[in-house]
Symmetry: C2
Subunit: 437 residues, 2 copies
């Protein structure tokens, strides 16, 4: 059972109330947020009012489904009416959202209680989650380490037990990466499945709304609420899936411990190693597209008020401005070629899988990491295995696979848009384990 289902049941049998759940979440924020850095803004009054409304409705027999009365957090890139919408940046200090983003509106209509907004890497432009106007999001498993990003605050809020689910965004892994590093589930459905109105863009052709939850099933309940029209055929529990295990490519270093643990987590299935010839092309195309689209969003801010950016984000944007147009054009062509290649793999495999991230959470501010004896940039190491699925828009889910030492590790499952049900069925079968660091 998911946490949401446990709570939904407790609410309906009178074991708890939405207000109790909300006050418990608020109390945990009061206790932990100063050191955790998960929340940017807490809407104490709005949350309590929404919780009371949920309680009243449930008492009156108005049942809005499993999210009713459930505390939810929303990444600071997604507008929540009346709350500050800073996008993690001094550029939007003092900015207040006029309207709810479409996905927030739907959650509210389902009775969810919006507790507050969570810390994002500035403008979502960084998988480390440690460069935000609100300060770094920290990993609940070890506070000196990064939560990951850019949805670091949402991951920390769920992993710390403050909320069972949170909305995030995912442009190169921004929901799945922090989910993996914080030991929770993170899901990015197919491109365009969730509405993006009211979500601040990073790179529009790669941007997805994502969900971070205590379990994969929690993610799915939120997705089903946000986009109920996309229900997939039922896959029975115990289904043995044919899974293609993607060999790691040069730009995607994976430690032996992470490789073994994640591979082992799928032991109930028929797993075959696959060498993915499109890896290098996908990585290059992702980079050209993300940089070009991101700078198109921020060019005027970089020109007019560069001093308001975090210095690292500013450096990255300036570097992003240098991608030539012809490389963007070639990247669009390479994207189509890679989509055809991966679609071909899906004729032989039900799902594809890999580690979500090849390493465990680095220290806050860490920018180089040694993997298998070689030094690698932290940023590319974090993004390498998740970003291909933003490029191609396939659904991708990170599920906890266990621990290496004290730090969580995630396994990533990827499917075609019409196999989402099987994806979640396989996620439920995953067997976490532990390994020495």
């Amino acid at each position: 059972m998911s946490e949401i289902e446990v709570l939904a049941e407790a609410l309906r049998v009178g074991e708890t109330t939405a207000e109790t759940l909300t006050r418990r979440a608020l109390a945990r924020i009061a206790d932990q947020n100063a050191e955790l850095g998960a929340f940017a803004v807490v809407d104490r009054e709005g949350a309590v009012n929404a919780a009371r409304l949920a309680d009243d409705e449930l008492s009156d027999g108005i049942d809005r489904g499993p999210l009713q009365g459930i505390p939810v957090a929303v990444k600071d890139l997604i507008d929540v009416a009346g709350l500050p919408a800073t996008r993690g940046s001094a550029h939007f200090a003092g900015n207040q959202a006029a309207e709810d983003a479409a996905c927030v509106r739907i959650l509210r209509a389902a009775g969810a209680v919006i507790i507050g907004t969570t810390v994002t890497h500035e403008f979502g432009y960084g998988p480390t989650g440690d460069r935000s106007w609100h300060g770094p999001a920290r990993n609940p498993h070890e506070l000196s380490r990064m939560a990951g990003g850019s949805s670091g605050g949402s991951a920390a809020a769920v992993a710390a037990g403050i909320v069972p689910v949170a909305l995030g965004t995912d442009t190169g892994g921004s929901a799945r990466i922090p989910a993996a590093m914080c030991g929770i589930a993170g899901y990015k459905p197919a491109f365009g499945r969730l509405p993006s109105d009211g979500v601040f863009p990073l790179a529009p052709s790669l941007d997805h709304v994502g969900v971070l939850g205590a379990t994969a099933r929690d993610c799915r309940l939120v997705i089903d609420a946000l986009a109920p029209q996309h229900s997939a055929p039922h896959s029975p529990v115990g289904t043995v899936a044919r899974i293609g295990w993607l060999e790691s490519a040069s730009q995607a270093p994976v430690t032996q411990a992470v490789a073994d643990l994640t591979r082992r987590s799928l032991s109930e299935h028929d797993v075959t190693r696959v060498s993915c010839d499109a890896s290098d092309a996908m990585w290059e195309a992702f980079g050209a597209i993300q940089t070009s689209e991101a700078f198109a969003i921020h060019a005027d801010r970089v020109r007019d008020r560069p001093e308001l950016f975090d210095t690292e984000v500013l450096d990255r944007l300036r570097s992003a401005s240098e991608t030539p147009g012809w490389r963007y054009v070639r990247a669009l062509n390479a994207r189509e070629a890679a989509r055809a290649y991966i679609s071909g793999l899906f004729e032989h495999f039900d799902l594809l899988a890999s580690p979500t991230v090849g390493i465990t959470a680095p220290l806050l501010g860490q920018r180089e990491v040694t993997v298998n004896g070689s030094s690698h940039a932290v940023r590319s190491t974090l993004l390498a295995l998740t970003s291909p699925w933003n490029l191609l828009g396939f659904p991708a889910l990170s599920v906890p696979a266990g621990f290496v030492g004290q730090l969580p590790v995630g396994v990533q499952l990827i499917c075609p848009p019409d196999r989402e049900d099987l994806l979640f069925t396989v996620a439920d079968s995953i067997v976490p384990s532990a390994a020495d660091a």
Copy 2:
């Protein structure tokens, strides 16, 4: 009546034969091509054989429609099986097309006689038509002047009376510009209407196959053969169209004589001046898209064998490589905004119109021109009024509007894809006139 219809009738009543027409075309090439520079390759034997086949079929009662037995020329960017396919470049010296391009295949099936290939500006990358591995295409009205480009050879071949129609391409005006400057008709249908298989690309999201013909009606007969599925509702002769006359923008200088002559050519219609707020944005977007897409095609050649390019084309390509990716992304957004803006104009007007080119044909090699007392680059002056319709993909037709001094001038008509019939009806109503230079 169109030239094609006159010839088709003559063929069917026995006044002439396809072989006679073909031999006449070949004789004219022998007489004129050395000074005109219209043809790159002449397929004497293939043409005579095709003409004899057409004659045999007509004798046997096999009637393939109006193009049967008609001599046609094909721009050297469009593959003709068995003929050299140089794309106007030393890079493809010795290259021979293995198959017909789709549009050539259709013309052959309609019985057309392919006489040979016509000179293109190297890789189609230039509206002046005077930089080709085959030498410059010259204007039949004054041989010291450019035919225009990049379909300069096709325009010269039709204007010199060698063939009644020729295939061209049009990425920024490459069919319409030389048509206007050579005193014939040139048509670029809606983006994607004509098949592009076997056509060497310049900038794929702007590239169109185009047709150059003695009259607009000749162009239409070819278009109807190439894409018969797109017949539009009939507009009766004498229809008075509401025409929006586009005011010239800063980047599109127009001489007073050209402005007056072209405007006067539409005197039978209800013409209203329109200030086009999207002009600057369309010009900038066209530039960003054309440069990025063109360099994506040629980057490897520029890196590996730069010395094989014409020096001016090489300079342009190197400059094209500098367009940043973010400007390409913004250009794609601007394109959509402009499409909406122009679609709005089409709610008030049946057609839009402007001069095709704001000046008459410059001298070969000329790169600066004085218009209304200011100096302008020839290239942008030639492209400014035609390129918006490549950006947006709307059908655009250049029709002869008369002469300024000894040199022809064209008027351009633009329509939504579903008003092509009205476009050609209005084209038939155009009254050419003359003005002093």
